[in-house]
Symmetry: C2
């Protein structure tokens, strides 16, 4: 999971729309509740999923034998080929690799250290999409701030020529991630020569967390890196002593030419309405550290296994189920955009989009979302949106499905949710669902060397598969369609 800066902008735009019109079919008010209609299938799917080792085995192979796979990298190419083969072997139809051009950011060698008043290496990790330093590195005094207000108070006089360190205590990912995303440009506008951000995590164990940044068009591009919580706190302590604190930073980070890559797709073709599609998936790329196990190997392998189970049990949904492994979620979002663009005017046939991109800890349910509703804003996570009558009816239908997920502990259905990859679909009015977990430790490992397969509990993983299989099958088979938002006129 990442926060796409463009989505942040989109959420601002959406926030200013006075009302959202809705497209939906007429509610069938007297219909039998979904939890009664689909109880037999749900029971079978859950039982099969909880007894199925295949999804976790696939995830283990992906993690151990392919590993980290940032956009443009060789292992991402292998992951894509392997995934398509996997879908074919599983007997999915229309398995294709949809061509997507992706940005190719390369970290290269990097290091940082305190040089004054003590000498000590920093536990650092450059931010994705950051520019590098000059070859000799940057040597500069630092200023440490806890928030944007403190930065503003320093002003150009206090910041010019310095390295700005954002030492913001973790107040939840959605809120604190802003320093990583826009901190570099905010600092650069005041004349900073580089930016260091305290890693966006609640856990201090000398582990830096990377993630993407966004440069503002009109601000100078300065190098930016995450540092461990320990190092950020140490820099704050040292500066509080009053004497100058200096840091050396060297980063080879740079952009190479965009690379050809792809979304991996496969289908179970619908028996009655094959043109109507329930799409689900996660993202196949990861950061260039760890194994991309929770983020988002677990998402793609759990959603695929959910589809496989529906197929293996011989269930034939009326609508088409399409699995997509979107590419380039972490630093660009071009996979999600390309998928939506390729649909053109047929986007209205996407009856629902489900994204799993919050790891495979214990599943708790689904967020039913409007575009931008799961996005961070400078004032914290966006509030849950107000629902139209049609949306409220759809929420009630989803709650009927939720009843079937209660044995998994995954029965919570709430408004607000989605995912970076399905955001372009949601902007075009497609109802979006974000699969939710308890995220007990997700941000301990997120975007680090520690996002490895051992963090994914096999039992919890299977519960996610079970929940996805039930939700996906019912959405593809139920009489009605969910209500979606009509997005703003211009989509991203």
């Amino acid at each position: 999971m990442t926060v796409r800066p463009s989505s942040l902008v989109a959420s601002f735009l959406l926030g200013s729309l006075a009302a959202l019109s809705c497209v939906t079919s007429t509610p069938a008010q007297t219909a039998k509740p979904l939890n009664e209609v689909y109880q037999p299938e749900a029971k079978r799917l859950i039982a099969a999923a909880l007894d199925d080792p295949d999804g976790y085995a696939n995830l283990t192979y992906l993690c151990d034998h392919i590993g980290k796979r940032i956009s443009g990298s060789e292992p991402l190419g292998r992951a894509i080929t392997w995934s398509a083969d996997l879908m074919r072997r599983d007997g999915l139809e229309h398995v294709t690799i949809q061509k997507v051009m992706v940005p190719h950011w390369v970290r290269g060698h990097e290091s940082g250290s305190i040089t004054t008043p003590v000498t000590k290496p920093l536990h650092m990790l450059g931010l994705g999409m950051s520019v590098g330093t000059p070859a000799a590195g940057i040597d500069a005094e630092i200023v440490v701030v806890r928030n944007f207000d403190e930065l503003k108070k320093l002003g150009k006089t206090g910041v010019q020529g310095k390295i700005v360190v954002f030492n913001a205590p973790y107040e939840g990912y959605g809120k604190t991630v802003m320093y990583r995303v826009v901190g570099a440009s905010e600092a650069a506008k005041l004349g900073a020569v580089a930016m260091l951000v305290r890693s966006i995590t609640p856990l201090a164990l000398q582990l830096p967390h990377t993630g993407t940044l966004e440069y503002e068009k009109d601000a100078p591009k300065i190098p930016a890196a995450a540092i461990s919580l320990e190092d950020a706190m140490m820099l704050a302590r040292l500066t509080s002593e009053g004497a100058p604190v200096k840091v050396h930073l060297q980063m080879d980070a740079h952009m190479e030419a965009d690379a050809e890559s792809g979304n991996v797709m496969g289908e179970i073709v619908g028996s009655e309405k094959p043109e109507e599609v329930v799409v689900l998936g996660g993202h196949i790329d990861s950061w260039d550290v760890g194994q991309g196990a929770q983020d988002d190997g677990s998402g793609i392998m759990a959603t695929l296994e959910a589809v496989n189970l529906i197929k293996r049990l011989g269930l034939k949904p009326k609508r088409t189920i399409r699995i997509v492994f979107w590419v380039n979620e972490e630093n660009g979002g071009t996979g999600g955009e390309a998928y939506r663009k390729a649909l053109g005017e047929k986007v209205g046939n996407q009856v629902a989009a489900i994204e799993m991109d919050g790891g495979a800890e214990a599943p708790v349910g689904y967020g039913y979302g409007s575009p931008g509703s799961r996005r961070a804003t400078p004032n914290g996570p966006a509030a849950a949106p107000e629902l139209s009558d049609a949306e409220q009816h759809s929420l009630d239908l989803l709650k009927q499905v939720g009843i079937l997920l209660e044995p998994l502990g995954a029965g919570t259905i709430r408004p607000g949710g989605g995912g970076s990859d399905i955001e372009p679909l949601m902007m075009a009015g497609v109802p979006g669902l974000g699969e939710m977990t308890n995220a007990a430790h997700y941000f301990d490992w997120h975007h680090t060397e520690a996002d490895t397969i051992d963090k994914v509990d096999p039992v919890e993983f299977r519960k996610n598969v079970a929940s996805l299989a039930v939700m996906t099958y019912i959405l593809a088979d139920m009489p009605e369609r969910l209500a979606g938002h009509a997005g703003p006129g211009t989509e991203e």
Copy 2:
């Protein structure tokens, strides 16, 4: 805190002694309980300690401005000089640096990686006192075992020429640390060319934990390193696939000539029995990673502040209180041995020894120990010893002190305890006390880059100071002496 191999041997020897004689003064059975006698002083000491910022400020300086300080290193020398100055500034008497020769192990450059069937760097950290590899490194197939039994089953045929990986799940430090301490020689005896040990910690976050090893005299010395939990589990998964897994290991680790170093000591001279000494302290050296904050900067700075508070409040104990910052606890124990040796036959005047070497998390009380009672054995931590009548009486006296520590949550007094540095004293019959905390996270950080000052909570630190001040003052002032064990004829 470390486990000293020589102490392990000592604990075996002691275990075989049928009975331990005791030296103590006659119990004064009708005396007023200590919790009544010393309540006013305890209240004053606790109130002062909880309101005292100085100890934590000293610890912060030690961590941030001196930092890690392994035996033989330049920062250890600075830490010693600074500590002696600190004791003088605080007005302690007889401040001296007692000369101690220490082993000088140097890590040098080191790296490890998986080379077959995938290529991936390992998160590794050489074990203290390990030999290095040849300059070109070692390339070998690995075998992964979970315990010594599995190693034995492999035998020479299975181990010869290979790198042995101990992937033992954490079952408490005292038990699991054996793989780190003796794993290299156990593997070498079967022909292994190197040893990797899963870090001795419950928390997987790609952080390797170092610590000392012991080479057996008759086994070849092979290089040994800790790896992260994640990497150990990955190696186990890869080998379980059946195909050969190979690792490259390169370590420059080596011993240099023993270095001159020292124990730092200072006193409050007793008002009535100055020749009788209550000694307390921790160790001034640390591993060559992190800041040595919990292990054992917190121990030396908390014990010193406890002594300072007694002095500052104008309390004049009958016996002498001596603070000692022992050197070389982590990889040799020569500081504790030198201190005991210098006492010669006067060791009987050491009426009690208190060590704080388990970090400064929330204090819970004290272990009242016999030699070796806190030591790990191959079958887990040694059992609490049986107490003689005199020892039971001493335990009862300590429990009276414990009542005064209850407001701190530190009122637990239990048999069994001590510390590496005071072990030589305890072997000579000196009653030993180990200051105990809840150790909620101690082994998450222990011997790693993450043992930094931010892990020490200022409020918990002050509670430790309070507890130590009360215990130390009462032991130095109370009418009786605690019962101690007479050690075996030959001390280490």
